[in-house]
Point group: C2
Chain length 349, copies 2
């Protein structure tokens, strides 16, 4: 865990920021991090001891951890440090929300090369803190290490506040399937970036997904029977609910029709791909491409949940299908048919 | 967070283990991990959902996170996968113990190259589980990702069971300074490995530190005023207590005299270094080298704590000095003098 040393606070106090991590030193960096991440109301012990102590009055704590690795999950030439901070926080905070919990805290482990600019780390911290503020959480600790590439491992902790956790396994036949938050926006943004079309606002949604954290506890309060955040794609993630609950999920393509922004982006991407005539990618028509993004695009970290039939849902929860079938026939279908595209994302494939 | 998929359980059930992570696939690996890490009594939701849920009846949770990076913290040609698992768990569990908490749970994030043998990951999991069993904890979740080298980021969660956390800042003038567990053994083992002298049992103590976890809650119960685990070296880590508490720590070299095993190892290392005649390392006499290990060797993860004068300590707590001086004169001295060797370890230097 992080340590601090009060003789290392010099540059935090004087404001003369060192240029690189090598110049700042480990303890200088940690001192800066503790200044950048002030304690929150539930932080009983924050950065600077062997471990943090967090108040979890519920008597249970929700805990999740996620990597964000340079070259794998982000590129420093595409994403600003603040973008990376937002995304790193969003991944773990959304996992907490998907259990029906209110996010409380993050632990941030950062490995980096010694020549990484301190200004990059400061902007990373600003992004982390800003996304935590969106979710109502605070950074309470972490670790630093040296590595050839930037590696973040972010642990999220959350509070159920008396609610039962919403698992993947609780969906029942007849349940409504509903989503809160956008689908396919992050995938569209990534495709635009790959084509060099960085001016579209969807690119921002790829770089800084904005999960609707409070929709998680809201869904739990509305009686959600199962919930997951869309990190790997709607079909893949609903597939986990279908598998864990032993049923079939039938999506209604009419409810998933891509909006104007996605359609326009798909046309721009398709035109650019035709122009560069890259094999394999050229053949997908723009309308299909937009629907692919909705069904298989990950990293929006929207929340998808099942609710008992007849549940009156607030407007931000959009019904997109229902759960049917028996345990012998699980999986996810669209208008009753399997979807042709590969639904998954395998880190080791 | 990790996901599971019941169609991927094939090789866990049939026993035909795939050779590499690429062959196992992400979801195959995660299914195996959930079989290797069964839930513990406090695991309300374990591996296989968006997040884990842990019972923390105290209403507070102790949380810490630590990296273990190939080439930086371990070498696969020196350490077995089980060794790496033991060490990765020990680092985080010891941080929990150093707060006075009983370790409850680990979240293990593992990034690895696709050609990593599945057998290596299985043995890693066995090492993690065995060290968790020593500490009374269970693995409740984690993450997997692809990277060029093996990167572990382990989060430890602990339970204070009604006790106040023991901080670094609570030591007072006149307090006893005492240590539970070995000092310098891990450093001696590393030096032996570097000289190709792998037969000495101290090498095992480098590869698998065995922190006295229950000494942490014990110290809290005895009224410890400050505590830290020895991860960076006794002088460096007591320096954090001295800084945070605003006082001076005076160590008694007579109480820190290296034992026969360390002295013999130092002679073997010194002889080997003279033989290879490497510059810089040759000049340190064997007796000084052994004391260096005791004072500056990290990674034993023993616990060092301060106690009010007159505290009757159980035999495993060895008094090694006392806290004195004013806030204007803090730092750590040995027999009243500054120690000549550099006391720290800076990840970015």
């Amino acid at each position: 865990m992080v340590q601090t040393c009060d003789t290392c606070w010099g540059w935090v106090i004087t404001g003369r920021e060192p240029e690189t991590l090598a110049e700042a030193g480990e303890f200088g960096l940690i001192a800066a991090l503790s200044a950048w991440f002030p304690p929150g109301p539930a932080t009983l012990v924050g950065i600077g001891d062997d471990a943090a102590v967090l108040a979890v009055p519920d008597g249970r704590v929700v805990a999740t951890t996620d990597f964000l690795i340079e070259g794998r999950h982000f590129r420093r030439d595409w994403a600003s440090a603040a973008d990376v901070g937002h995304k790193a926080a969003a991944r773990s905070l959304a996992d907490c929300a998907a259990m029906g919990a209110e996010p409380s805290a993050l632990l941030v482990a950062l490995a980096a090369p010694p020549d990484l600019p301190v200004s990059w780390v400061r902007e990373l911290a600003e992004g982390l803190a800003a996304e935590c503020a969106r979710g109502g959480a605070h950074v309470i600790g972490g670790d630093t290490a040296r590595a050839d590439q930037v590696v973040l491992a972010v642990t999220g902790l959350g509070d159920l506040a008396g609610r039962s956790p919403v698992l993947r396994s609780g969906a029942g036949p007849g349940d409504l399937v509903a989503v809160a938050g956008p689908l396919g926006h992050a995938a569209a943004g990534l495709a635009l970036l790959e084509e060099g079309l960085a001016g579209d606002p969807l690119v921002h949604e790829h770089l800084r997904p904005a999960p609707p954290y409070d929709a998680g506890p809201e869904a739990a309060g509305l009686g959600a029977t199962a919930m997951i955040d869309v990190s790997d794609g709607l079909l893949a993630d609903l597939g986990h609910i279908a598998d864990a609950s032993g049923l079939r999920v039938d999506l209604d393509s009419a409810a998933l029709r891509p909006g104007d922004r996605l359609t326009a982006a798909a046309r721009a991407v398709a035109a650019s791909r035709r122009h560069s005539a890259r094999t394999g990618l050229v053949t997908r028509p723009a309308d299909d491409l937009a629907l692919d993004w909705v069904l298989t695009g990950g990293e929006d970290h929207s929340l998808v949940a099942t609710f008992p039939a007849g549940t009156r849902l607030p407007p931000r929860w959009k019904v997109i299908g229902n759960a049917t079938g028996s345990s012998r026939d699980h999986g996810v279908v669209v208008d009753g048919q399997p979807w042709a595209e590969p639904p998954g994302w395998d880190h080791f494939a």
